[in-house]
Amino acid sequence: MIEIHNIHKAFDGKKVLDGVSGVFETGKTNLLLGASGTGKSVLLKCIVGLIKPDLGSVTFDGTYFTNNKLDIRQEIRRKIGMLFQGSALFDSMTVEQNVEFPLKMLTDMNKEERMDRVNFCLKRVGLEGANKKMPSEISGGMKKRVGIARAIAPHCTYLFCDEPNSGLDPQTAMKIDELIKEITEEYNITTIIVTHDMNSVIEIGDKIMFLYEGKKLWEGTRDEIMDTDIHELNEFIFANRLMRDAKKVEDEEREEEEERRHNGQVASQGKEKAPSEETVETRDEPQPENPDGPAATTQSGNDKV
């Protein structure tokens, strides 16, 4: 679990982060969502220690990280895997050497053990056989996969991804998202993903933090995000025509459902007969006018698990 508390950061007097706090849970894909220039990447770099915050603190599983002793920070950093926006693969090394690099630097494994781990990681990200290729010889999606393999190779506890699907086609982007989600759950690691892609939110966002002008404006799950009344968040979500249409269809379906239910109730009241099985079932379904109904409570409870 990673906790951030009251993170402030300014560059040349311009506030980029303004008192951001939050908790990123283990085994979940935590998303930092927001438009470009809202401070998502800066916050991520503050968390991993690439940028020193002006104020505030970061804690990794209860261990204070910001401004702590160098050896403690180094110890934590060795548990961190990071996938950069441009993959940041070392140009002069092959795919295999890139994945082997953290093992060589951070572990006492011998060559054979390292190669076993490299091959396992490459297989895990679906790149078996690409060992000897140079980064310049592989596609953007493959580079991201190599980046993920390099991040998980030394058995990382925390995985950070800075816009993992930027510049990729929707299908490849979805595969990368799914891979990150699978790895997070499989190894029970704490994953934080910076994104402005609503598809990622819908597909893999267990917990989402929405940043706006350097401030945390909203926090919640992907099921809750579509029904918020925060203007800035709605403006961000529904900037995409597809999302607008999806919302429109959802609203229309909901209205139709309400109308049908309402008509059914009126009809049943008009006939003044005993409630049928169908009416009993309907009563158990979530009522839009009554969000605290039994079904709504159950769903909310599931989200928290």
């Binding site: 770099k45 991993v48 220690g49 690439l50 160098l70 180094q74 110890e75 950093r77 060795r78 961190i80 990071m82 950069f84 926006q85 441009g86 940041a88 693969l89 070392f90 140009d91 953290p102 060589k104 630097m105 951070l106 950070f160």
Partner: protein
């Protein structure tokens, strides 16, 4: 200017904090020595041979007095080569080749977040990337300067004898005349100092690159110009102190 110098000193200090294991640094140093040394042999050979040849021809052109022995040409070629041309010109050439390569490489690594990737892993990127370059340059530059001295004198010999300006015997007599071994030591000291200046200044320029491709180009240019200025200042200071 002063701020940059302070930043440079802090950068140099950072090379020696949180160093990686000796085994890793040794491996990286050997790699860098190959890149800096082997890849520079050709350009150093070409430049120094022709500089020796041109020096010989120009000295012969100026020494046409019958009272001055022709062996003086060989003597002057040797003195100019050992004291100034081999260490300084070779270093200026290497500032262009090696310095721009170091700054460009580090600058590209910086803007493509490869340096950040090292830092996230808990590796001191400055120490891991720069220290081997500086050590390799200090080890390799004297060897290149020795090669440059030999080839310059050889170039002078070929140019002088083939053009008929002097006989091989006259040239060799001049080369051996009043030889001061300390001059070789002085040249090697200069090469070590210039190696440090070129590799550290170029690394500093490259390491602090931010922006994009344009800035990487600007960092390479700045690395070369700053290195050349530092070489010339260092050359004067060393000559003043050590001669």
């Amino acid at each position: 200017m002063l701020q940059s110098f302070g930043k440079y000193l802090l950068f140099m200090q950072s090379l020696f904090t949180r160093k990686e294991s000796a085994k890793i640094l040794f491996g990286r140093t050997v790699d860098e020595a190959i890149l800096i040394g082997i890849n520079s042999i050709f350009i150093v050979a070409i430049v120094s041979t022709f500089i020796g040849a041109v020096t010989c021809v120009q000295v012969a052109y100026n020494l046409n007095n019958a009272f001055i022995p022709r062996s003086t040409i060989g003597f002057m070629v040797r003195e100019m080569t050992i004291l100034e041309l081999a260490p300084t010109i070779t270093s200026i050439v290497l500032a262009g080749k090696v310095g721009s390569s170091i700054a460009g490489g580090l600058g590209t690594m910086q803007i493509t977040e490869q340096v950040d990737a090292l830092e996230v892993m808990g590796i001191n990127s400055a120490s891991y990337l720069v220290l081997p370059k500086v050590v390799a340059a200090i080890l390799v530059f004297p060897m290149l300067v020795i090669l440059a001295m030999f080839l310059s004198i050889l170039g002078g010999y070929l140019a002088g004898t083939l053009s008929g300006e002097l006989t091989p015997q006259e040239y060799i007599t001049g080369i051996r005349d009043q030889f001061i071994p300390y001059n070789i030591t002085f040249a090697l000291i200069k090469s070590v100092v210039f190696a440090f200046l070129i590799s550290s200044i170029s690394s500093f320029r490259g390491y602090y690159t931010s922006g994009g491709a344009l800035e990487v180009g600007a960092a390479s240019t700045a690395a070369v110009t700053n290195s050349v200025i530092a070489i010339l200042i260092g050359d004067f200071v060393l000559a003043y102190i050590l001669l």
